[in-house]
Symmetry: C2
Subunit: 229 residues, 2 copies
DNA sequence: ATTGTAAATGAACGTCATTCATTTAGTGAA
DNA sequence: TTCACTAAATGAATGACGTTCATTTACAAT
């Protein structure tokens, strides 16, 4: 599939003249709620337009009065989930700790929503208010830590890239590095996989995430220090 | 969709007793080549079982004698592409530079093959010889640089996670951070986006990738130094 | 010649997302 | 009250797609 056909959320809930009582069964809010419930209960395989319609007691075609495609539904869900990413540390904690807490929260939210990662990574944030709110809070935190404007977006994108990749890793099976019959061709790799050591209480994905996050945060902090000197 | 239904490559090309001349039109090699050609020419949207069959002058159902699902085709393509990732620097260059060159090559190969990222990130490497070969070379490079066995896989996974996320970012549209009507709600973010500055010759994705890679490599090197002290 | 079998065929299925002509039911105006 | 308007819902239809399966094909060993 190609770089995801990109549009903003299409059909909006119709603008309604003031005291007009609503008679619609559907709206962005209802669709988003139902989609989120469906996905949480049965996973993304169950998120079909018919399944979504059924969960709303409505015909599938009715959805298209409020949304212009399934992509639009994914966009709605994505933005709703962005509201769950915890950015509070950026106003309460020093930069390094805040970045770590934000990255952890971000990864945890989307590791349960992998199909949304291409949506976040490739679609404009336009018309995604919660997404924009998150970026604003993060940018603000960077500014307060003394980051120069010109570098902030690149730093956020770099951290985000690591978060997205790590979200995939959370869902990797435990035997993802099992070499099988080809073990003999890769002795060093096989040995390293066998001896992969993780701190107490950390699974493989958490250990790799912690290592990479510590490295990147430390490296970025060093970058900042040398840039502001 | 759920964490990708996972299997190894299914139906193998039948083991053939010695002097038996092949009469088959199809095989893993032909399928892989045709899929790669199709994808390179027309993108992943064009990679359908019928399209693939047509490009091989064969009925779609014939593919299933050699491959057990479309996932299998993706796995074949993925492994073929892994052979294009340049790991030569690990035998010729110091660790930091080798990691940088490897990561760049890895990102460049798969930024043109985004739909394979979930495949790489979630499916066991078993029966993916080129993939295993790549990991062996990388592991070997880490060992030679003095990395302790127990940390190597976590470091590779962390770097890979960043590479995968960055591959998505390569395909992000230029206006991905355009806030549109919600500009007023995110003044700091909007300003930072407007002032995003990139070194000469670098586009946005390259600048973010370079920043994150430098940070992570420096951070990992520091980790190594303190671990071996 | 006969038999066995891997591989190819073509018709079918079920599942999707999406479109469209039509109907429904409130609303504001006459 | 009546009427006309319209947003929203319906249900049937369409076209892609991945996959299955009974059947046939054509080569190789016997």
């Amino acid at each position: 599939m190609p770089p995801v056909p990109v549009k903003g959320v299409g059909t909006k809930t119709a603008p309604r003249r003031a005291g007009r009582p609503p008679r619609a069964l559907l709206g962005h809010a209802q669709i988003t709620r139902a989609a989120l419930r469906l996905v949480t209960r049965d996973g993304y395989k169950a998120l079909t337009m018919s399944g979504l319609a059924k969960s709303l007691n409505v015909a599938p075609s009715a959805l298209y009065n409020h949304v212009s495609s399934k992509q639009d539904v994914l966009l709605l869900v994505e933005d709703a989930l962005m509201g769950r990413v915890d950015v509070s540390a950026f106003t309460e904690r020093p930069w390094e700790e805040a970045v770590r807490l934000w990255a952890h929260s971000y990864r945890d939210v989307f590791s349960a929503h992998l199909p949304l990662i291409p949506v976040i990574a490739l679609l404009p944030v336009t018309n995604a208010p919660q997404t924009i709110t998150m970026y604003e809070a993060v940018t603000d935190g960077f500014l307060r830590a003394g980051w120069p404007q010109e570098r902030i977006i690149n730093a956020i994108v770099a951290l985000e890239s690591f978060v997205f990749g790590s979200a995939y890793d959370v869902n990797a099976p435990g035997d993802i590095f099992a070499t099988g019959e080809l073990e003999d061709a890769a002795p060093h790799f096989t040995a390293a996989v066998a001896r992969r050591g993780n701190p107490a209480g950390h699974n493989d994905a958490d250990a790799a995430f912690a290592l990479g996050l510590d490295a990147m945060v430390a490296g970025l902090a060093a970058t900042l220090a040398s840039a502001t000197r």
